[in-house]
Symmetry: C2
Subunit: 286 residues, 2 copies
């Protein structure tokens, strides 16, 4: 039987899903109602109302119409689907064809969100795309928690005084954004060197791909296919500030044992806890 775990508990987030290179990638964070890429639309994804698409390869976007249809089938709120702006029109056409062919509604809010933009998911959570580098247009996403913090100059005042100043319309708090979860999708390791991606690398949980793990693949090969070799993560480990790194999207040729061996190598080089998402991978002994 496949040696795998149904979801992992990372920095107080239960993270579930499956990510087998070229086959299907869908990572789910139920607590935030978030799904990163939709693979073949595993049933757990249907309950979540925010879907973030990193790029339009079928192993990441194939299940999108099914996700929308299934939420409709269960009378769930139409989902919000975030996409790189360059593919918004094609995704709309994709849905339109299924509406015509299947004579079904497919209610959805399709939101093109570009790198540099911010979108409020809840009053205490926002999302921002960040730049990644794949063979077709792609982007990652960082989910931030939002909290208000009293500005220093008011810290010494009493509750009532603060209330009074507040009512007078003076802004007395600063808005603090803390990166909670970053999801890269498919990308070369270059994203790690881009200073504008610092938040992704200091998110509590960094979910990043590591398609290639062993010497039979060169970093040039990984680069040419728009992917990351684990040795490149090791090489850039010094930029990682995250508490936990969840590795995903291993090539389907690997067994769970090989994945674990490779992860140990990375673990020895980073302070972050390194966890592989092994759902869907077989043991060498099964």
């Amino acid at each position: 039987a496949a040696v795998n775990r149904k979801g992992v508990e990372l920095e107080s987030y239960a993270i579930e899903g499956i990510s087998v290179g070229g086959h299907e990638t869908c990572v789910i964070v139920p607590e935030l109602k978030c799904v990163f890429d939709i693979g073949r639309c595993p049933s757990r994804a249907i309950q979540q109302k925010f879907l973030f698409i990193t790029h339009a390869h079928l192993d990441h976007i194939g299940g999108l119409p099914m996700y929308v249809a299934s939420r409709g089938l269960y009378n769930l709120e139409p989902p919000k689907i975030f996409v790189p702006p360059s593919i918004k029109e094609d995704v709309e056409k994709l849905l339109e064809i299924h509406r015509t062919m299947g004579q079904v509604e497919l209610n959805v809010e399709l939101i093109p969100l570009a790198v540099g933009e911010t979108y409020e998911l809840r009053n205490d959570i926002v999302v921002r795309p960040f730049a990644t580098h794949h063979v077709i247009p792609s982007q990652g996403y960082v989910i931030y928690s939002v909290r208000k913090k009293l500005q220093k100059q008011y810290a010494h005042l009493k509750g009532k005084q603060i209330e009074k100043i507040k009512k007078s319309g003076v802004e007395i708090t600063d808005t603090i954004l803390s990166p909670e979860i970053a999801f890269t999708g498919d990308t070369t390791s270059e994203y790690m060197l881009d200073p504008r991606n610092a938040d992704a690398l200091r998110a509590k949980v960094l979910i990043t791909e590591a398609t290639f793990l062993d010497e039979s693949f060169s970093t040039e090969h990984a680069q040419a296919l728009g992917h990351t070799h684990i040795s490149q993560i090791i090489e850039n480990a010094k930029w990682i500030r995250s508490k936990t790194v969840l590795l995903t999207h291993f090539s389907s040729r690997y067994h769970v044992e090989e994945i674990r061996e490779a992860v140990l190598k990375l673990q020895s080089k980073v302070s972050a806890k390194v966890i592989p998402l092994t759902e869907g991978f077989r043991s060498r002994y099964s």
Copy 2:
């Protein structure tokens, strides 16, 4: 754990797949390299090169782009996908969008096949659609084995004599088509009363839907949704000549125990062996 069986052996055909009403339907006959509807494209479907689409609802067609892409990923022969003629153009558009978005080839032979037409899959197998009745355009498919049978008037002759006549160009055999497997897809039970569908009802294995199983659903309700209530199969049982009936597409509200109880009722009314495809259904006790 879900009480289910990974595939059933019926009349010398190992039949696998999953069919949960509204969720996903994909029934696979590896021996014939055939897949009936593609649901979410379960991995076993990828190996088969003939895909028969009964209608364009997402729980039956959703995985089609993924199926084509996955065969390409494994360098398998481009598949032959048979569709009702009315949706051929839309399916072509669907693939075209994924080609553009994902910048991938997606090689496939898309074959519109109408009721009344015959297509040769192999020199000893042909397929013919048959008329079904769903809420959108739909059709079922019968797979026939083909064998040549010496015409009676030559039965008494010796091998050499037969060879001689044959070489002279005289047609000495009859082509015998025997219905092996019939697959309805979604439909009301009216298909059972159509004399042109006789072959479907005498196929060795009839794979038919039975979305509704109990009294909480009326036959009118089933009819309105374009589905079949098991009581209607019981009512028309006399038309069934098949050796085995594989029931599929039960509504997702049913547990395995309810499915089995309903199947027993049908079993008592037909000579055919009645088997439910329970993959994906839970036991009341899990």
